[in-house]
Symmetry: C2
Subunit: 158 residues, 2 copies
DNA sequence: TGCCATTAGATCGCATGCGATCTAATATCC
DNA sequence: GGATATTAGATCGCATGCGATCTAATGGCA
């Protein structure tokens, strides 16, 4: 005779306890990020930038002449990831990497004229992306806020 | 004398047109995904699985004995990404890769006993992740739905 | 001053992720 | 039946992403 365990374990398990791929927020987040990355790949092709390179340029267009650590902090990435990328951007002539005189440990990253000029080409990008998202600005803002709140929670419990 | 151009270009540009890193949904999505990945990294350490390996196992725990293409479709990834990963899972003894007899082009992926057994260890994971997210199940569900809708839009406009 | 901890980057190894391309097997069309 | 197109995976090259570790420079403290 079956016990009443069924009542405690419904046929459709609650979201948090299921191993079903489609019920997991993690996969929604992961695959949406990949899709967004693909959209950016297409749009960034003209600028000959990868998505991460674009993010680094965004940081530098906002504040030039910062050290590697500050870029790392801003993007929540490790030097391990950024050092090779910065070397590539330097090889392409978009930035310069110079050891700080006041603190020889630091490497100061600054935009070249070409790097600054690239900002003009990049200006059209956000509206193209927004168009591909097919979301109202208000929805985009709300989703962004939710994601940042989630990120904050995750970082606290990492 | 300044023209009235200012009226057409407000000091705080609308979200879709700004190159400010913090105003972009893309960065919120990207960095939140990385944070979530870090949480999973910690939780998956015991299972000796990476995040993507875990996703593949989720697919196989749901439906065993499928070919590589079906896994690719399910996870929206290329064979280029999955073929080496599947070889690693095979080397670890979690899965088997066998050429299909009816269609020699296909490779059928099936779980080994060890691969099936690993599901038991994985069952605790979703609730740990949900706890780290600090979100109510309803919020998680809503966010997931929004992300999937966004992904659908992005894929349509890719 | 001199020893030691800390900090900033760099190097290495490994695991994704994808575009371009290749091979082998199957499907299609005449 | 045979030429051709398509499909399923695999291989290669390159760019992330991070843990572990290294080096050099700075800070702190007896």
């Amino acid at each position: 005779m079956p016990s009443k365990r069924l009542a405690a374990k419904p046929l459709n398990a609650p979201q948090g306890d299921s191993l079903a791929l489609d019920e997991q927020l993690c996969f929604a987040l992961y695959s949406t990020m990949l899709s967004l990355n693909k959209v950016y790949r297409g749009l960034l092709h003209d600028l000959d930038l990868t998505y991460l390179q674009y993010l680094v340029m965004l940081v530098l267009w906002e504040k030039d002449g910062i050290n590697v650590s500050e870029i790392c902090t801003r993007l929540a990435l490790e030097t391990t990831t950024l050092t090779p990328l910065l070397k590539r951007l330097e090889a392409r002539g978009l930035i310069q990497r110079v050891r700080s005189a006041s603190d020889e440990r630091q490497v100061i990253v600054s935009l070249t004229a070409e790097g600054r000029a690239l900002r003009g080409k990049a200006k059209a990008l956000p509206s193209c992306v927004a168009q591909a998202m097919e979301l109202a600005p208000k929805e985009i803002g709300a989703l962004r806020a939710q994601l940042l709140a989630l990120r904050s929670n995750l970082d606290r419990n990492a």
